[in-house]
């Protein structure tokens, strides 16, 4: 046959490996594959990649090709080009050289500020606390609501379910509180205002997500209309989640501003402010209401302006300008995470200036009654009654529970010889107060408590009786000094550590 007579073609030379050092991550898999020790670990750090590429010594190379297969990098170790590839026929291109992959210069993200739009002065409204809070959210520019029905908070969600579709907003009933908080995580990541209404057991379920949102520095508002616990408890009012909101917002180094409204008006105003602060600090804000306050109707004046929200520059907003933004709470390197926690700590320290409180008739008060939420309403009545009876009583009402308004408390206590903490929990408010006083080095006067739980609220006559009993009680320990300086003696007999 003719073909067999032709001189055999010279065998094509097999290609040896070639490597662009920029694209080698130094994984060393090729070295394991080479039987002739042609490949060795490198010594020098590539200045462009920060990695150490391998080195090739191809004297002994048989072009077996095993190293090509071993290399996991698509543009890494590959056959050398034996002949020039004709132009116009692109082979594999280095991604960095490909024009279509080169990033065009893109605009820098900028903060788009909120705009305040004046509201026509309307009539005074009479609203349920839950409804007032929902309206506060709408006026703050919140158009994304996620929630799961739970008594006694659901009315807020129900009102938003009616109104949001008319305002081009989104109301979504999630499949659970776990889903709710993660829906909020996503919306907050897009730089939008989002909130939920929930009640104690539901809030417990959300805490994992709250911790993630704090870690990733995302704003959101959680309205927790507290009910009786622990466990399923009941649907009656309790201040059961003060500790949870102030000290236990999920795992890790977590804090958030915690508001404690006590009127429907405050439900509206504080919800509105909660959004402002959430975005100012890039941190969730918790509004702790209680079952009574959520259901209670009261007079509510609308604010003078509503907020047309802007867009913060950190948002993952889905356009060219925001493309470099990353929302994440993961910092694998220990030092990075510590630095992040330091940054969060600085932020928490800055939040101290948001501490708010109301002092009523405390100027000359001998006995100061501390209460928040619905119990503060009974406490106010008790103060009025005590004043009528000629007892110099005052009401101190913390409006933020974290940060605790300790400076305002110190001022309110300036003339007081007794302190009565009134609460619908087994001492959670008192614990916050004592902790804040201890950190601030504020010596407290002898302290009495009027407490109820399980949905029973402290009544005015009990508070009056509690205050009178506290005043009548003889103080065995030395009268606590009102100075801001703590007694730092080491005398065990001094009693400077005892408040009662």
């Amino acid at each position: 046959m003719a073909t067999s007579l032709e001189t055999p073609k010279p065998k094509a030379r097999k290609p040896k490996p070639q490597l662009d050092p920029d694209l080698c991550k130094g994984c060393l898999r090729c070295i394991d594959s080479c039987n002739h020790h042609c490949l060795v670990p490198g010594h020098d750090i590539d200045p462009r990649t920060g990695l150490i590429p391998i080195e090739l010594h191809l004297e002994a190379c048989t072009a077996c090709g095993l190293c090509f297969d071993a290399c996991p990098e698509p543009y890494g170790l590959r056959p050398e080009r034996l002949e020039e590839i004709p132009t116009g026929q692109p082979e594999f291109e280095r991604p960095t050289d490909a024009d279509h992959l080169k990033r065009p210069p893109r605009p820098k993200p900028v903060d788009i500020p909120d705009v305040l739009r004046e509201l026509p002065l309307g009539a005074t409204l009479v609203l349920k606390g839950n409804h007032a809070s929902a309206i506060g959210a709408l006026l703050a520019g919140c158009r994304h609501f996620y929630g799961y029905p739970i008594t006694p908070s659901t009315e807020g969600a129900e009102l938003l379910a009616k109104l949001l579709p008319k305002l081009n907003g989104i109301f979504l009933q999630a499949v659970s509180e776990v889903a709710t908080v993660n829906l909020m995580y996503g919306t907050a990541g897009a730089g939008l205002r989002t909130m939920t209404f929930t009640s104690s057991p539901g809030f417990s379920l959300m805490l994992e997500g709250v911790s993630y949102m704090i870690g990733a520095e995302l704003p959101a508002v959680f309205v927790n209309v507290m009910r009786g616990g622990p466990g399923l408890g009941n649907i009656a009012p309790e201040q059961a989640d003060i500790k949870l909101a102030c000290r236990g917002l999920g795992h890790g180094n977590t804090h958030a501003i915690v508001f404690a409204p006590s009127t429907p008006q405050e439900m509206l105003d504080l919800t509105r402010q909660a959004f402002e602060l959430a975005f100012q600090y890039r941190n969730p804000v918790v509004l702790l209401a209680d079952g009574y306050l959520g259901q209670m109707t009261g007079r509510v004046e609308l604010p003078k302006a509503l907020v047309q929200p802007g867009l913060p520059k950190w948002a993952v907003a889905g356009d060219a300008a925001h493309r470099d933004n990353l929302i994440s709470s993961i910092f694998l390197a220990e030092a990075d995470l510590e630095a992040h926690n330091r940054h969060l700590d600085d932020k928490y320290a800055r939040m101290a200036r948001e501490a708010r409180a109301e002092s009523w008739q405390c100027e000359d008060a001998e006995v100061v009654i501390v209460a928040c939420n619905t119990p503060a309403r009974m406490a106010r009545g008790a103060v009025a009654e005590l004043r009528q009876r000629g007892v110099k009583a005052g009401l101190f009402r913390p409006i933020t529970l974290w940060p605790f308004p300790i400076d305002a408390l110190a001022e309110a206590l300036s003339g007081a010889s007794r302190l009565v903490v009134v609460e619908a929990s087994a001492g959670q408010l008192e614990d916050e107060l004592r902790l804040a006083a201890s950190h601030a080095g504020l010596a407290l006067p002898p302290l009495a408590a009027v407490r109820h739980s399980g949905g029973v609220l402290p009544q005015q006559d009990e508070i009056v009786a509690g205050a009178l009993a506290a005043l009548a009680r003889e103080v065995t320990a030395p009268t606590a000094s009102k100075s801001a300086d703590p007694c730092d003696c080491s005398d065990p007999e001094c009693g400077c550590g005892d408040e009662e």
Binding site: Y148, P149, I150, T151, T154, A157, E158, A161, K162, P165, F171, Q173, V175, S176, E177, V178, P201, L232
Partner: protein, 293 residues
């Protein structure tokens, strides 16, 4: 001693709305339990949260009113801890297919011998009328002013597709039939699921109450359905939402081994391979002597 249905009735008076379908369900459960012949103290009844989850309190069995959506994991823990108990799980459609939806699939995969009774009323009754995962599309509720935009979950198809070995449906409109499927579900060795169409008189739809159930319900037996045929069961389950089939959709002809049975089998297998305790101690003693020397 043989128990009568009344022996399973507790002294608590149900506080469901008058006319609630759940009254019928609890009656059917009394009958089924009496027919099965276990004593009240041999039975544990676990529920989640919701109107229907009040049910354990209305029986004389041990009751566990647990966490919203978590009745199945709790019941599994209970059954694993005490395999001799007959464990019933009850809850609503929200408990089972919304907040607890993730647990259903894994309870089925694990095939622990439980009977899961879902009282499906297509609405959230306890929190006063919000959307539920089985609410039909377009349903207007206090949380869906635009009408429900989401497709309802089909509980029957859901559990069938995860491989539940026993799937049935009933309605209190047919008490005898309901008691019979619950009894059969309890007797089934392995995970069994009963979807009960139990209408909500207060927040449910007016045209889907017991009266309508009675008019439209069709027993699968009368349709000539073979409960061993899983494909036919899936085809029939597609009717959920517009038809009301009662009876057993699917009963695995050869019930797969339960989790408990598998654990015991593996343990026995391992037991043969392990050294007896005395031998292990001997080896330890020898080693100790060696190191001391």
């Amino acid at each position: 001693m043989n128990c009568q249905p009344k022996d399973f009735k507790s002294d608590l008076k149900p506080i469901w709305c008058p006319g609630c379908g759940d009254f019928g369900v609890v009656q059917a459960i009394y009958r089924a339990l009496a027919a099965v012949g276990r004593l009240p103290h041999d039975i544990a009844f676990v529920s989640g949260i919701g109107c229907s989850s009040r049910i354990p309190g209305y029986t004389t069995a041990y009751g566990f009113n647990s966490v919203h959506g978590r009745a199945l994991p709790i019941a599994q823990g209970l059954k694993i801890a005490n395999p001799d108990l007959l464990v019933l799980v009850a809850g609503g459609d929200g408990d089972g297919f919304s907040i607890g939806g993730g647990h259903v699939a894994h309870a089925i995969r694990r095939n622990i011998d439980l009977t899961y009774i879902v009282m499906d009323n297509q609405i959230y009754g306890l929190t006063k009328g919000q959307l539920s995962p089985t609410s039909k599309q377009g349903l207007q509720t206090v949380t869906s002013s635009l009408g429900s935009l989401e497709q309802p979950v089909n509980p029957l198809l859901y559990v069938l597709s995860y491989g539940a070995p026993f799937v049935a449906q009933g309605t209190p409109a047919d008490m005898a039939g309901l008691a019979a499927v619950i009894e059969e579900a309890i007797r089934f060795p392995g995970f069994s699921f009963v979807n009960v169409q139990s209408p909500c008189v207060t927040f449910g739809e007016d045209d889907w109450q017991l009266k309508q159930h009675k008019a439209v319900m069709k027993s699968l037996q009368s349709l000539g359905h073979d409960p061993a045929d899983v494909i036919a069961a899936m085809r029939l389950a597609q009717g959920y939402g517009h038809e009301l089939h009662t009876g057993v959709f699917y009963r695995a002809p050869q019930p797969p081994p339960t989790y408990d049975a598998l654990v015991r089998a593996r343990q026995q297998e391992q037991a043969g391979k392990a050294l007896p305790r005395e031998r292990v101690l001997e080896l330890f003693a020898a080693k100790k002597k060696e190191t001391a020397a």
